[in-house]
């Protein structure tokens, strides 16, 4: 049952001369929810953006080492192909303001010029919005602009947009940090359901969230992967002193 979907081998990221992610080795299984936590500036987001090759879009950003997706190094593949295979949800909800809710869900197809029939589109839209727990709320206003939704709804729309591309893996970069508590809990509830079909990697600096939603947690500190273990184990009995300090709030 446990098969590896993502594996980092001696992975390093840089911004110019600034060494941000240091020699990370990690192996993530299918249908797992992984929380990546750590203090600000510890390299957790940079690591996440290395997985789908978004990191290299920033001027001067480089990386070394391997990220294996289903055993194949993403840095040997076409970046565009990698990004279409891996879904990503950002810190702030960013639906396309020029597109309707419907078009936003199938944006991955529309913007890539992939031709699919209206019937297929309808199916994808309903399935994706249902998976992201948004269908009931928007099924009567599919052709309104996505930006009219509330923040939490917009974020679930962005999740639907990622799901619509049928990725195996979805990356979340602090997906609830711009949301209010109610929207946050609706998005968190969604993680449990998504687990059945997808692998989720969630960057968060909210420890309670990491504890609530994840199976395993990775703790980053100063660019190093300090500890990677079962979430329960990590929060009750961490093996590294630095993890212990972070969890008990001795530094932030």
């Amino acid at each position: 049952m446990e098969s590896t979907i993502v594996k980092a081998e001696n992975y390093n990221s840089y911004f110019g001369d600034n060494h941000v992610v240091k020699d990370v080795n990690i192996s993530i299984n299918k249908n797992e929810v992984i929380a990546v936590m750590g203090p600000s500036g510890c390299g957790k987001t940079t690591f996440l953006r290395g997985i789908n090759r978004m990191h290299e879009l920033i001027p001067n950003a480089t990386s070394k080492g391997k990220i294996l997706l289903d055993g194949e190094n993403v840095y040997d593949m076409n970046a565009i192909y990698v990004r279409s295979k891996i879904g990503m949800v950002f810190q702030r909800p960013n639906p396309f303001p020029n597109l309707s809710i419907y078009e936003n869900v199938v944006a991955g197809y529309l913007l890539n010029g992939i031709k699919i029939s209206k019937a297929d589109k309808d199916v994808i839209v309903e399935k994706s919005l249902t998976s992201s727990a948004l269908w009931k709320e928007v099924k009567d206003s599919l052709h309104k602009k996505g930006t009219f939704l509330s923040g939490g709804q917009q974020q679930r729309l962005c999740i639907a947009r990622a799901i619509a591309m049928q990725p195996e893996l979805i990356l979340f970069d602090e997906p609830t940090s711009a949301l209010d508590p109610i929207s946050t809990s609706s998005v968190e509830a969604l993680f449990h359901e998504l687990k059945a079909n997808y692998t989720l990697i969630i960057v968060t600096h909210n420890m309670q969230q990491a504890a609530r939603v994840s199976d395993r947690t990775a703790f980053f500190y100063m660019g190093e992967l300090v500890e990677f273990d079962d979430t329960k184990q990590m929060f009750t009995n961490p093996s590294d002193q630095r993890t212990q300090n972070y969890i008990t709030g001795r530094f932030s």
Partner: protein, 281 residues
């Protein structure tokens, strides 16, 4: 203490009064100019005026169809060239603001914006009119296109710079290639702003006389050929207003009225469209 506060309040009131007065004052020249041109021009305009070429001296009647058609053709040709080039340059400047090329081309845009229009006319005269051996509408369009470029470039650049980076990331993370991100996401989201820049550039150059003096030159007859001299509204106003004949003065007033109305309508149209098409971020 109380006296002091009253004094301060009075100062604030005076200051407010001054800025309101000047805000009002700047509308006065526009209203006076508008009113005067409407008064002089509106009675010249009728169907005959809009569909006939100017009459020779001594004959009554005559119209400005040659200038209307000429201005339309020349501005259209200029726009067809300047809009895609300007948008492409604007996209580059907003996408790569820190490159050397962006710095120098940005500088050139600023300088180009400051070049007097008559100088643009002279340059085009030496580049196009002299080699071709004849005044032509196409050389007029070239001069107008050069005048339009900086406006289109800067408005495109400024509009696109205002769009959040997260928008681009959203598209890139879906595996959308860069050119499609720009054409399908960035440009459509900034379309209202880009369009308003385009409209303002059209409104700006349609009233330009100086660059057309040595290029399109003018033509008392109706011409559709872009390789021959062509009349334009501002040039017609210039020649007919400086003539010694009253009939011709009236023709110039009528043409001024038409030109002014066109620019006015274009500006209002732009305001309405940009409000309607503005993307809610």
């Amino acid at each position: 203490m109380e006296l002091n506060i009253n004094f301060r309040n009075a100062k604030s009131a005076i200051f407010k009064g001054i800025i309101v007065f000047f805000a009002f004052l700047i509308t006065v020249p526009l209203i006076i100019v508008l009113g005067y041109i409407i008064k002089q021009g509106i009675f010249q305009v009728n169907w005959h005026f809009l569909t006939n070429v100017p009459a020779p001296v001594g004959e009554t009647g005559g119209g400005i169809i040659n200038a209307l058609v000429g201005s339309f053709i020349m501005v259209m040709v200029a726009a067809v060239v300047a809009i895609p080039v300007g948008m492409a340059a604007g996209i580059y400047l907003s996408e790569n603001p820190r490159t050397k090329l962006a710095y120098y081309s940005g500088l050139c845009v600023d300088i180009l914006q400051g070049v007097p229009s008559i100088v643009v006319g002279i340059v085009v005269y030496f580049w196009i009119v002299k080699p071709l051996g004849t005044f032509s509408a196409i050389s007029g369009s070239a001069a107008l296109a050069i005048m339009m470029l900086p406006i289109v470039i800067r408005s495109t650049e400024q509009t696109l710079k205002m769009l959040p980076a997260s928008l681009k990331e959203a598209a890139l993370s879906l595996g959308v290639p860069y050119h499609r991100v720009i054409l399908k996401v960035i440009v459509p989201c900034g379309f209202a702003g880009i369009l308003s820049g385009i409209m303002l550039s059209v409104a700006r150059v349609i009233g330009e006389t100086a660059p057309l003096l040595f290029t399109a030159f003018g033509n008392p007859y109706l011409s559709y050929s872009i390789t021959k001299p062509m009349e334009s509204l501002p040039h017609l106003i210039f020649t007919y207003a400086t003539s010694p004949y009253d009939d011709w003065h009236n023709l110039a007033w009528g043409a001024s009225f038409i030109l002014l109305m066109f620019v006015l309508v274009l500006n209002i149209f732009t305001k309405v469209l940009t409000r309607k098409w503005k993307v809610q971020l």
